[in-house]
Symmetry: C2
Subunit: 447 residues, 2 copies
């Protein structure tokens, strides 16, 4: 992409309304614009990151055997009356009347709708296990939306629902989600720690939240510091294997890690040696629930079991805050100059800065670099504007592409360009061909 | 994908509520389920087609140089009051009050919001031309939603907006959209004829609708039969070239083709020889508009021109009915047994039918075929259920995959499988390797 043909409205001033760094940087980097309170337009750069995150979530969900579909944003009130949540949900549910005065609502979550779909079509235990998921816009009418996309009203979420014959099968689905989430977040460059949590309005006995450590987090968290040394890495998991999923779950959840909702100071002190006790703040980026027959019983989602008798299915629901993740990633990865995208989610793989726009040799070298990177399946952003080098560097730092290639007449005389890491600031002189090879190698695990 | 692990709830009976064939087939093939009047859940098979169509639209938009972004579904009423459309839009606009009694609406289109974004950031003619687009859910509160996704209330649309300094530049953007739409629809296996139309509530002087011929179309259309012989084909277009876009536009719009809104019988008879005059019905699948300064003037979307003076930008908007296209494609491509997907949008590239599930040799051959197709970048659907051959064939015919490979013990004895075209019903015996090669060749232009 040529910057001269792109729409990247970076701001010089820090917007006054933004209280936390991710919100400030998303506004300054031209990623989002508020449309109304807690509702955002995703400008081209923000949209690119949103799509990358969505793509990782899709890939990891499908790797775990979950089936994608799409439920609508608006739902009829009837199903929520059936489950009893229509009145219980309170003012965070956006209630709507259509032209015929029928009650609709903007879905904050989809347990009722998916249960209705399930009961309409599935009649036998032979069609189980089944996990359906979608990535769709949701709405929660927060009383005080703030922190940009971190606590917006219209937000993008992946929510998935498992249907199983027995409690044991459903607990495997729970474990499978936990494992798959670990891999999902790590691909985004995040360490998200599963912590025992409370279930809130979704209900159920078992639930874990995934928290990213960040000073601006909304939750206080308490954990054993050994947890932060765990890596999912590139291990291969058979998601059908009860043992494998159980063993990963135990590895990642056996140590103390809780939010303020479930924290017990006495247990913390008893189980964790003092030097490993950490009290910090965290951002919730996902949550998994097992809630058994909470919805299937009142809504009649039963299947015929092996003995021919009808049994209500065991269910769970599992969410990832897709749009909120942009904020969480920035909170966890930035410096004074701007964002530092992890390679897995960066909007462009590599910036190209032309120090002498209009110079035939520099322009030609930049165009060749751009083409060579694209031939490797990479998406570069070429700053071809007629701007000072300082302004170009500042923009690149602000928008946070992890790698930058700088092209200038002086280097070209010696046959080299400069490859710079956004994270370390370290630069290396390389031939253009070698720079392309290096960048392609770096991204190989992410393409 | 193994059918035993998928969620494909096909129906045996024809649902009584469906009046047109695409609606019937989408329900029977387990593609959609109504959530409430005019609002649908996209079951896994329907979702796959929706994503393929979306992907083609994205690719063709970006090929034409248009920049993707994403605006929210809910908008504040204020911008619509500014443009004067809040009162004018009528009861089809879904109006919402949030918990603070602020007026929101579910966007039926986005001229106001995109104009607001533009005016907030763009100040100079040097940042033009610019075309931004998004693919987002919209809502129109139709008084009588019907025909499934063809006239739903919540629907997915691509809408794009061009911003140009002059009327001439904006007309080039208009032409560029027309050309890019021709290519887009052809990739979906559709012939969509651009017809001069009326502008309705969007406004403006110039507008073309794209219509797919189908008996169930909502519009009466009148055209010169020569038009149906035009093909966009694989011509290469430089979308920056005014001449090239103009010349394609002339080729595809110089012959008489109008909807009932703009039809003039006398002109039709004068310009088209009787044997080429066609009166038929059509489904609208897209529309492009040039409306100049209709929004930029009242909303103050001006840029500094080359002479330093502020000028309102010239705009147009351009829509493709993404979810509606599924219905249109089925209306145009089906038979008594079910859907016949064009290769460009099929949910799976190839079906695999195992005639003797549980037979070690047949199972092994199917698994090898599945793996070989996937290694070619194709997505097969392997019917591995323990079902009669007849039921498996009926399901494959209903869901409309263009190609099917049938594997049975008798053929395997002779080292062959059967490759069948859904469209022609013709079969060919081939070695498994040759069948994979043939299918890969067929899809090469679509991957």
């Amino acid at each position: 992409m040529r910057l001269s043909r792109y729409f990247l409205p970076v701001l010089k001033e820090t917007p006054a309304e933004a209280q936390i760094v991710s919100h400030r940087l998303m506004l300054r980097a031209g990623m989002i614009k508020q449309a109304s309170a807690g509702i955002y337009s995703w400008l081209p750069l923000g949209y690119r990151v949103l799509r990358r995150i969505e793509q990782i979530v899709h890939e990891e969900q499908q790797r775990a055997g979950h089936v994608p579909m799409l439920m609508p944003t608006l739902q009829s009130a009837e199903l929520w009356q059936e489950s009893g949540r229509y009145d219980a949900y309170g003012p965070e549910m956006l209630r709507i009347k259509d032209r015929h005065e029928r009650d609709l609502l903007y879905g904050p979550t989809n347990e009722e709708l998916i249960t209705d779909i399930f009961r309409s079509y599935v009649g036998s235990y032979k069609q189980l296990p089944l996990t359906l998921y979608h990535i769709q816009w949701k709405f929660r009418d927060e009383i005080r939306p703030r922190f940009g996309v971190m606590r917006g009203r219209e937000f993008l979420m992946k929510d998935g629902y498992n249907f199983d014959l027995t409690r044991e099968d459903a607990l495997h689905a729970y474990n499978r989600h936990l494992v798959s989430y670990l891999r999902t977040y790590e691909r985004m460059g995040l360490q998200a720690i599963p912590m025992r949590a409370e279930s809130g309005p979704i209900g159920g006995d078992d639930t874990h939240e995934f928290l990213v450590l960040a000073e601006t987090g909304e939750s206080e968290v308490f954990y054993d510091s050994e947890i932060t040394e765990l890596k999912f890495g590139d291990r291969e998991i058979d998601y059908d294997s009860v043992e494998q999923c159980q063993s990963v779950l135990e590895e990642f959840t056996s140590r103390y890690a809780r939010t303020d909702d479930t924290h017990e100071e006495a247990v913390f002190e008893e189980r964790v040696p003092e030097e490993r006790r950490r009290r910090a703040r965290g951002i919730e980026v996902g949550q998994i629930f097992y809630f058994g027959t909470k919805y299937s019983e009142p809504m009649g989602a039963t299947v015929q079991g092996p003995d021919g008798k009808p049994v209500p299915v065991h269910m769970g629901s599992h969410g990832i805050g897709v749009s909120r993740l942009l904020g969480a990633i920035i909170e966890a990865s930035h410096d004074d100059n701007g964002i530092i995208w992890p390679e897995g989610v960066t909007p462009f793989h590599c910036g190209i800065v032309n120090l002498k726009q209009g110079d035939a040799e520099a322009d030609g070298a930049c165009e060749k670099l751009e083409a060579a990177l694209m031939a490797k399946g990479l998406e570069p952003l070429y700053d071809d504007r007629d701007e000072r080098a300082g302004a170009k560097f500042a923009t690149m730092d602000l928008i946070g592409l992890p790698w930058r290639i700088t092209v200038g007449p002086r280097g070209l005389k010696n046959g080299v360009v400069e490859l710079t890491s956004r994270r370390t600031g370290e630069s290396e002189e390389l031939t253009p061909e070698a720079a392309v090879e290096r960048v392609a190698e770096i991204y190989a695990p992410h393409l």
